[in-house]
Symmetry: C3
Subunit: 345 residues, 3 copies
């Protein structure tokens, strides 16, 4: 079990040590389950209430008094450097496992780890230090960049190109045919062949069971630094700019183009042929059916500028009083209508 | 082909035999497709209309007259004991298939069936009578309890712990990294390592292509008796109490806590950091963005108490008449305004 | 690299050649990225603006002037015959790969290609020219028709029957247990065994990571020509008529019946026990909770006839003005109320 001192924590995270620097911790815990042998991570000051004084804390500047701990501007960001120290998971050993199948016409980079049940097809090129965990399918002529990790039960179809330092989780399907059909004269559907491919940049993360379809022709493009969560679908011919983040359960319709650093929250969706600018934020459950200019935050269905949507929703909530007010007005008017020679309004 | 008598059906289900106890049935059918050699299961009395008199029926007490059948309080519950008799599917033979890979440092329980293409990694412990169907990936140090069944193309990542009598269907991903990033100074996303794990209790069922992420640190917890349908996502650090039932297409956001026996219908969703009490019911397509107290039924987006939501929706439906009523009032007022020295309102 | 002349394009697509029939193209491109060595496909006339005159175009009748190209009534439909010429992907070689496991009691049709990591179980029957790409699981007694293609990491459970010329993409789960439980006296969930199966017709396409559950008893039925996109769920005992098209992210609840040629757009959903007629169109994000008659287009949640929903949504958008109008009316009435012996309304 890894043990480090609070002094070391301060050094690694660039934080300020408070109290006993020689105190040792064996892991990280949350305010809900504080442990005296671990370091309790406190995102917000009000979480400190109720945590016993003998618990060491990683917290915001000025938040720690009378206890051991480390203070920083952004405690959550410190986890990036701190957590790897306590990761029990071990790496995968380089080499081609005896139960993997690697086609003789493929190229496997130095120190790559090809696990049991993996299939690397004819013409594929696998970079250095790539990990294919187990039961991963790599189609023909696929290219996988250095230091990329692909976890079990994922399938990468022919000709897909994946960058370096990419992480792809389990159950992902990349490069399947896009969904394109035209009605025939007999009312049946004729399939439009999907002969394009998918190109994925560097430093991309793709969550479990997400799907990315190949282009009808040309490419479906996922730029450098994009982070996709789970159960996402990127349809044929889409293009996602650098550093987009899509949280989960989000379909992006065919040929839609997202600029750089677009954020989309869970259960939102984007129709096909939509153009979205840079730095756009899409709220949870919103449905985007029109182009969105750079810098906007949108919500609702159909999605509109977020403040307009909030006002609209607030106006709907006021409707309950309107019925009552109408009734009162009508009662008054009825009571005076006869005086104006009218039976009713 | 299995054949049993109606007398036997009455005995197995604890029902009351009506008519010919020696009559033999070879299966179970629905009112839509009644067959004279099968037992027709009738959930509701009005389904009986139109079913020919020569069809044997499993129905509610008092519903069967002038035909053969078995009556009980809850016909649907009788299926639990009745259907296994007619299940054509055969069990998987114990033993490690020649095409499975089982690491030498793993432990395989007595009478476990490890199918072709399965991978059991270093340090994993597989319980007695466990079935790993085919192409199942079991990561390092995973623990699987007795009598658990894991179907094809499912991946269980390192250190995940699964209880006994659990059923996990195809395409499931358990223990993938949670989705956690912090923005760096350069606008890029830095990944927060996800070093926790997932703990799944006993008697849990997990539907096809569902995903459960490991905790950032600590555990993502699925308690005993939880039933998850298809295409569900349980994010990092969530906790689901005993006997929760989530039907399908439901994301549960990070760190949310569900009490015992929470029911969530299809396409509902739960945001992150939400606390939901016991015996809560969440209607289909509702979006839960606030904590919910025990015992409540909620619907809508944002989800609120169900009766309030129903009243709100009804008030919206009334709005169509409001425009008309406003116009009439305005017309009347305009007609009298001059008399009060006003041109208009 | 394939190269063909524009004359050949005209011949294959049945279009009219404009300009230089001897000009050679090596592929197809889109108006966003026109290339002089390819054929630019232009769906709509207004896309032609901005495409340099030296680019050859496949466009609508009458749209091409002063450049090389081919004109037809429906340029998009021409892709069905044109794109295969430029497909770089090569077929899979017939034969059983050395790393596949094929049970001795299964039958493999002539010229079938069973790829590495595939598992064909006891009693399965695989048709002629079937392709099982890699790591595909075929359960016991499964039947797969001729010319069907099943891609990597897909699992087909016992007794499922699949027709001819079916394409099933990666990560699909077919024949997993339906989601059926009854509450026990102790508050726990008792599973209703799911002993039925799934029957899939001819010419069906099933998108990546879609799931189709087996029936409780009887069959879940997908008729000829049905096209399912990605992340779709067809629950137990559903029935989809011929040529239905479901785009993506759509759950269809248990026992629902769809007629022929039902179209459902992304993120729509259908509750359980719903009956939908023929030629029904379901708009994106709508939630169907009642039966729908043939020929209707529906939208909204709960879904209703599309024009009624449009009017309803428009009436909601008008509400903002109502508050203002009510205030004005009330102000006027207050100003005259005293004259009628009333303090206020």
């Amino acid at each position: 079990m890894t043990e480090i001192t609070l002094a070391k924590v301060a050094e690694i995270t660039g934080g300020v040590l408070i109290g006993d620097g020689a105190r040792r911790i064996c892991g990280v815990c949350s305010p809900n389950e504080p442990r005296s042998d671990m370091l309790c991570v406190v995102w917000e000051k009000n979480m400190l209430e109720g945590i016993p004084g003998n618990i060491a804390v990683l917290g915001e500047k000025g938040s720690i008094k009378g206890r051991d701990g480390v203070e920083l501007d952004r405690p959550r960001a410190a986890l990036v450097s701190l957590l790897p120290l306590f990761d029990r998971r071990r790496g995968d050993s380089p080499g081609i496992h005896g139960r993997a199948f690697v086609h003789e016409n493929s190229i496997i980079g130095e120190d790559a780890a090809i696990g049991p049940g993996c299939v690397v097809s004819d013409g594929a090129v696998i970079g250095r230090r790539v990990v294919l965990q187990a039961n991963v399918f790599i189609g023909k002529n696929v290219i996988v960049g250095d230091d990329t990790r692909i976890e079990a039960s994922t399938a990468i179809q022919d000709f897909v190109k994946i960058g370096s330092r990419v992480t792809i989780h389990s159950g992902v399907s990349i490069g399947c045919d896009g969904f394109g059909f035209v009605p025939g004269d007999d009312g049946r559907w004729n399939k439009i062949p999907q002969i394009g491919t998918v190109v994925i940049g560097d430093d991309v993360e793709i969550g479990a069971n997400t799907t990315i379809d190949r282009a009808t022709f040309g490419v479906t493009e996922i730029s450098d630094g994009v982070k996709l969560g789970v159960h996402i679908h990127i349809a044929h011919n889409c293009s996602l700019g650098p550093d987009c983040m899509l949280v989960g359960f989000i379909p992006v319709g065919g040929s839609s183009k997202l600029g750089r650093h677009v954020l989309a929250a869970g259960m939102s969706g984007i129709a096909d042929h939509i153009v979205i600018g840079d730095n756009v934020t899409i709220a949870g459950r919103s449905g985007v059916s029109k182009d969105i200019k750079s810098g906007l935050t949108v919500s609702g269905f159909p999605a509109q500028e977020h403040m307009a949507e909030k006002r609209y929703q607030a106006s709907l909530r006021r409707i309950k009083s309107y019925g009552e007010r109408l009734k009162k007005i009508e009662r008054f008017i009825r009571s005076i209508a006869a005086g104006f020679g009218k039976e009713d309004i």
